[in-house]
């Protein structure tokens, strides 16, 4: 197992009012993303627990592109990764942003 943490300053807060959301599943080749609206509007954090060691550079690139594209201000993402492919990671993060951007609980 490897633990990784990324923190970014972002342009704008994420939309919506929902406080938290979960997408995906913990399974081989997949991942679970918990997203919580707990940070200041200009910050974003991603905590990763991954089964695959040695992919730090890839994670840096994936998270960097994601933050640039979605500007998920105020959100903390906690990822439980079962060795997902980078494109699956990108997709789940985008799904998490879409879900928390919904209004309600």
């Amino acid at each position: 197992m490897e633990d990784l943490r990324f923190q970014h300053r972002v342009r704008a807060p994420a939309g919506g009012t929902r406080q938290s959301a979960i997408v995906g599943v913990v399974a081989s080749g997949n991942l679970e993303v918990l997203v919580e609206r707990v940070l200041p509007d200009v910050e974003c954090a991603v905590d990763i627990k991954t089964a695959a060691v040695g992919f730090g550079e890839v994670w840096t690139a994936v998270i960097g592109d994601f933050v640039e594209r979605y500007s998920p201000g105020g959100l903390r993402f906690s990822i439980n990764d079962g060795g997902a492919r980078p494109d699956t990671v990108s997709l789940r993060l985008a799904q998490a942003v879409r879900l928390i951007a919904e209004n309600g609980q």
């Binding site: 060795g83 494109d87 699956t88 990108s90 997709l91 985008a94 799904q95």
Partner: protein, 549 residues
């Protein structure tokens, strides 16, 4: 001088006479199969042991493996598929020495070990059409050991839906003084249809168990990922639609299965029905059932059949080629030719793509062979008939050429996710095939599809149109530009990739009006094998390994 011009015919007659003692008419009992082979096969013979993609002469393989080595050894096997363990046991035991073949999927790891260990003297790894062609020039079999469903007493053979290579193998052997021995599941009064006429068959062995058939072309929709769905959407909207691709061949991966399952949903919404994907050179893929049932597909010619599809095919003879008995008639040689000359597109996946676009399914420990993909995935230089996609692709490659003198181009599309199983990258600096060629002292690296034949690469990151690249450098950046987070992708020249995107050489999902978040499994016309059975009205009977109900 006593010159004879019919030595081979005399030798054939002597072989038949030697085997006749074991036969009643043409029929030999299964327990005498090895003795029959000892009687008719000679040391050093070229032997075609029918190993198709699917239909296997398994009884005859075992019988050949058991021959007395003092009578038969050092055979030269010339067969398209090296598929059963017995096919390689022949080399371990010394029955066979030299091998020319096309495909070795299930035996790919062992064949690599045996080549490294010097157990097999390798002629060459061929494409199907190439090996079939050599059957008629310099690799003509002296003995063919084939498989059929049934025979009558005269020796007329019914191959069933998996006719596959049989007519080609028999043609080359029987008409050049060779011996044809068929294993059959049963001997009947009258065969349902004559796939091979009796005068080309010399001996028949009735097998106690039906020949082995493997379901190779069934992809469970339940295993299709969102990434594959996104990639399929990009292919449909970014390639099928703009070129108007009607005549095509699909590879057997999950990405193409996803395309088949998106036609009646995503494709329908785009208004593409009747404009794309109407005529196929394709095995009977169960994943195509929803598109067929929705009226998308007009005609399919097949290389072989697929387990569980018999009743469905029989009931859909408007779509498939069938015999007077109603069942599928497949033919690998003709279907390969159809894929080469009469299709405007090949789309399939691979294991490795390099920076020039060369691709290979060889890794240093596995040699899967070529099968048919290089024939499908190659521009046919002998093609002369025009079609919309072929002309458009030709114009993109050579916009300044004179229209009347300009060759068209076949669309050769490589589709896949940037990372494969266990996060192994699809894109590499150097193909493993090169390392293998060096280790084995081959004169040619085993390249599945050469880069200069590839026109498009589709990944979840976008579509790269290599026809529009004008320099080797543009081509490399176009490939890097869809290589995602692989090392190759991360080392792109961002400025150049942006420029290529502005020119439409690279198209991202958003450039095609596709939101990756819409790539959802609910888009699949069938999400399980059971859904496919439902679509087929209960006619599709999936093999037990695909049933979970």
């Amino acid at each position: 001088m006593n010159t004879s011009w019919q030595n081979n015919r005399a030798a054939r007659d002597a072989r038949i006479a030697a085997g006749a003692g074991l036969a009643r008419g043409k029929v030999v009992e299964a327990h005498d199969a090895t003795r029959l082979l000892e009687a008719v096969v000679r040391p050093g013979d070229r032997v075609c042991l029918e190993g198709d993609n699917q239909k296997q002469a398994d009884l005859l393989s075992r019988a050949l493996l058991a021959v007395d080595l003092s009578r038969i050894s050092d055979l030269h096997m010339v067969q398209s598929g090296v598929v059963l363990p017995e096919h390689l046991d022949l080399f371990d035991r010394g029955v066979a020495k030299r091998l020319d073949y096309a495909y070795s999927g299930p035996q790919s790891a062992r064949i690599a070990r045996m080549l490294f260990g010097g157990k097999i003297e390798l002629g060459a790894v061929h494409t199907y059409l190439e090996l079939f062609a050599r059957y008629f020039i310099d690799l003509t079999p002296q003995v063919a050991l084939i498989a059929a469903v049934s025979a009558d007493r005269e020796g007329n053979l019914y191959t069933g839906p998996n006719t596959e290579d049989t007519p080609t193998v028999v043609e080359a052997t029987a008409f050049k003084d060779g011996i044809v021995i068929a294993q059959v599941n049963e001997i009947v009064e009258t065969v349902p249809r004559v796939d091979i006429p009796a005068d080309r068959v010399h001996f028949i062995v009735k097998s106690d168990t039906p020949f082995f058939v493997e379901p190779l072309f069934t992809r469970d929709p339940a295993a299709i990922t969102e990434g594959q769905i996104l990639t399929a959407m990009l292919a449909i909207k970014g390639i099928y639609a703009p070129y108007g691709v009607q005549r095509l061949n699909h590879g057997i991966g999950f990405s193409t299965a996803a395309i088949e399952l998106l036609l009646p949903t995503f494709g329908e919404r785009l208004g593409l029905k009747g404009r794309i994907a109407t005529h196929f050179a394709l095995n009977p893929h169960p994943a195509l059932i929803p598109a067929i049932e929705s009226g998308w597909v007009r005609q399919i010619h097949s290389f072989g059949s697929e387990v569980g599809m018999d009743d469905y095919i029989r009931a859909r003879s408007d779509v498939y080629f069938t015999g007077p008995d109603g069942s599928l008639r497949s033919n690998r040689a003709f279907c390969q030719t159809a894929g080469l000359y009469a299709c405007d597109m090949f789309i399939g996946s691979t294991l490795q793509i390099d920076l020039q676009g060369n691709s290979s399914t060889v890794t240093t420990s596995r040699i899967a062979g070529f099968g048919g993909a290089p024939n499908m995935g190659a521009d046919a230089r002998g093609r002369r008939h025009p079609s919309e996609p072929w002309l458009k692709a030709g114009a993109e490659a050579d916009p300044d050429g004179a229209a009347l003198m300009r060759r068209g181009r076949k669309l050769v599309v490589q589709i896949g996710e940037t990372f494969g199983d266990k996060n192994v990258p699809l894109f590499v600096e150097r193909l493993d095939a090169l390392e293998l060629a060096e280790k084995l002292n081959l004169e040619l690296a085993p390249i599945m599809i050469y880069g200069d034949d590839v026109t498009h690469i589709v990944t979840e990151e976008g579509v790269a149109n290599l026809l529009l690249c004008r320099t080797a450098q543009e081509r490399e950046q176009a490939i890097r530009g869809v290589a995602g987070y692989t090392d190759i992708g991360r080392r792109r020249d961002h400025g150049m990739v942006a420029h290529l995107r502005a020119r439409g050489v690279i198209r991202r999902p958003e450039d095609l009006g596709i939101n990756p978040l819409d790539a959802d499994r609910s888009l699949l016309a069938a999400r399980s094998i059971k859904d496919l059975v439902r679509w087929s009205g209960g006619l599709y009977a999936p093999p037990s390994k695909f049933r979970n109900w």
